[in-house]
Symmetry: C2
Subunit: 107 residues, 2 copies
DNA sequence: TTATCATATTAGAAAATTCTAATATGTTTA
DNA sequence: TAAACATATTAGAATTTTCTAATATGATAA
């Protein structure tokens, strides 16, 4: 029963757990963009980016709408940035701590 | 260059993106426990749990120490719960919104 | 020191993810 | 309508993840 929330959480986190997908979120931080702009920014294959966009959309993290021949993507809810920013914070702190240790070692 | 932080973030998130590993964090929320208690609580194979513990430890999320024949695991930094709790929050809100939509549909 | 207990590691099969290349779909323009 | 453009989908190979079963390691107790 509570199993469900662990499973859903794991799926959500899995959708975020790829460098390209994190980059996509970063690119879409403040603006809605068409696929063409996104994969141009990433310098990756169109079909590859399309697949990553789908993962994020399936998870409800992105939404899309058609505008003429283009499909525009945007972040559905800015809350996702709470998560990715927090992760960044934790990692940066970890890196600093490691560095401090190494410096002490150097004495 | 900035690629590195995306890669590190993705690795961190990937370590979290498995139901069993989220359950382990939940079990270790407020206490340090030996492997025997952890896999008993999870009702999973010892070797399987041991492998999941390793993933979390390799990522720096858990730490362990020997106590006699036992190995005790604990969460290294409670910050990780900011992340998993935030995910839970987002998912619960999503579920509620979906439910609201379904109820409106029912009119 | 041998047996036992607790945990980790390894091997290998099955499943899932990721990427590229090719193709399909839907839109606009000529 | 045909050609060109934007995006999605599919197929298939390579890689990674996950699990189970078996074995190894290391600590304690007999």
């Amino acid at each position: 029963m509570n199993d469900i929330i662990f499973k859903l959480s794991a799926s959500y986190l899995k959708a975020l757990s790829h460098p390209t997908r994190l980059k996509i979120l970063d690119i879409l931080k403040d603006e809605e963009l068409c696929v063409c702009k996104i994969f141009e920014a990433l310098e990756l294959e169109q079909s590859n980016v399309s697949q990553h966009l789908r993962v994020l959309k399936d998870q409800g993290i992105l939404v899309s709408r058609r505008e003429g021949a283009n499909i525009m993507y945007r972040v559905k809810d800015k809350d996702v940035f709470n998560i990715v920013n927090k992760v960044k914070e934790i990692l940066i702190r970890q890196l600093n701590e490691t560095q401090d240790l190494l410096e002490k070692e150097g004495d």
